[in-house]
Assembly symmetry: C2
Homo-oligomer: 257 residues x 2
């Protein structure tokens, strides 16, 4: 019997191990470009992906994996156990800043999220959700004070992907705008109540997978950019928001994007 | 003789003391609005300002002080010893996020910066410059790897204050955009080499005073938004940038703002 508790325990140990390995690699980061000059990948991204794949293949060979640094054409997230992994979310931040980057891992069963992890390397903080058991930060239960009005809340969106009119409307109707440059960390700041919403117009599943379980456990809302439920096999953009302001944001996006 | 070393020593001790006091006050933050709903001030801002004023009046009664939370009509930064202080830069971040806010203090003599401090409360990091002695972070000397090309560098600017065309141009010509929401921290990330430039279209002296000494010590460039030298008595906007990209950014601002 492959109990969720056992998988959780092993994955936490794997994260602790990979965090130490990444720490060792930080003095010698090798950067390459992918599709274009601004699309960076490092030896760390590749090593974390490879290490995770090896770990899953050895321990759970029947599990599928969808990841940023691999081909995913055969993966069906609605069939049995399936993992989504972004080995390094915020690679540009790792390369340019040495901070504000994270590992994102989430396990689904028949499309239901069971376990979610985000490890913020620089802060050494592990955000974790277990289905039905809430969210913890380094083991401490997280409770979120929710925003009820958009004009009280900070909002995160990548201005590169937002039309000028949308950005202007979001800024003028919210309390303010922030942009960290890692969608996974924007989501963390939303689940802690720092931000009221984090909008990632170009998110793939691996960028936003963990948000699905965090949101479920904390009664926040995750949808696509149009406000519809996420299709795990075809994610293109996502928003995580506090419930009372989600509809306002979707309406602003529909009007201005 | 009021040696700079002695002032430095006393100010460092004051910062350590006020950091402990702020830490005690975090459980009971009282928020008010100033000019409008988005312009926040807290009991912490006021306490830090009052504590600093008391400290200077007791120890250096002949020194002038220019600060965010006081009247400055009598202050002339080009006459004798004069301090600039922003008790909390990033008050909105303090209120909404509990992180990414800082204290900024700088001492000038006849308009020359002698001592500069930025204390990042959440990270417990003290950035300090002493004229002619470089910049340290918690006592460790800082060396900055400079950007030579704008398209390699991350840039920070408040999109609320930038015209859409300017924001688009900066984003398309740089490596990327970030916005933390505290000008003082944007500047810190520029002096460490995380960012290539931090632009604060609405900066007052207290927001950017410390940058003047950091830039001098590290051979970075600080000017107003038009690329001219800063007039300490009439600051309206500032940019701190790595030398090779400063002119490019000024040209983009002149073209698009």
């Amino acid at each position: 019997m492959c109990a969720i508790q056992e998988i959780d325990c092993r994955i936490e140990a794997w994260i602790a191990q990979i965090a130490r390995k990444v720490d060792m690699m930080l003095n010698d980061v090798a950067v390459e470009t992918k599709k274009h000059d601004l699309d960076l990948v490092t030896n760390i991204d590749k090593e974390v992906q490879a290490d995770f794949t090896k770990f899953i293949e050895e321990n759970y060979p029947e599990h599928q994996i969808m990841g940023e640094e691999k081909s995913n054409s055969e993966v069906d997230m609605y069939r049995g156990y399936a993992w989504a992994i972004d080995p390094i979310d915020g690679t540009t931040n790792l390369v340019k800043q040495g901070k504000d980057y994270c590992l994102i891992v989430c396990l689904f069963y028949d499309g239901e999220p069971l376990l979610a992890y985000t490890y913020e390397f620089y802060q050494q903080k592990l955000y974790k959700a277990v289905q039905g058991q809430g969210v913890t930060i380094n083991g401490v239960p997280l409770h979120v004070d929710k925003y009820h009005h958009l004009n009280d809340a900070l909002i995160s969106i990548d201005p590169k992907r937002a039309r000028s009119e949308l950005l202007k409307a979001l800024i003028s109707k919210s309390h303010g705008f922030r942009f960290i440059g890692a969608g996974g960390i924007g989501a963390l700041r939303t689940i802690t109540g720092d931000f009221g919403a984090s909008i990632d117009m170009g998110a793939n599943l691996w960028d936003m997978s963990a948000q699905l379980l965090y949101a479920k456990e904390l009664r926040l809302i995750v949808t696509d950019i149009q406000g519809n439920a996420i299709d795990l096999n075809h994610v293109k953009g996502a928003i995580i928001a506090h419930p009372d302001i989600h509809e306002d944001i979707i309406n602003i996006i529909k009007t201005y994007q």
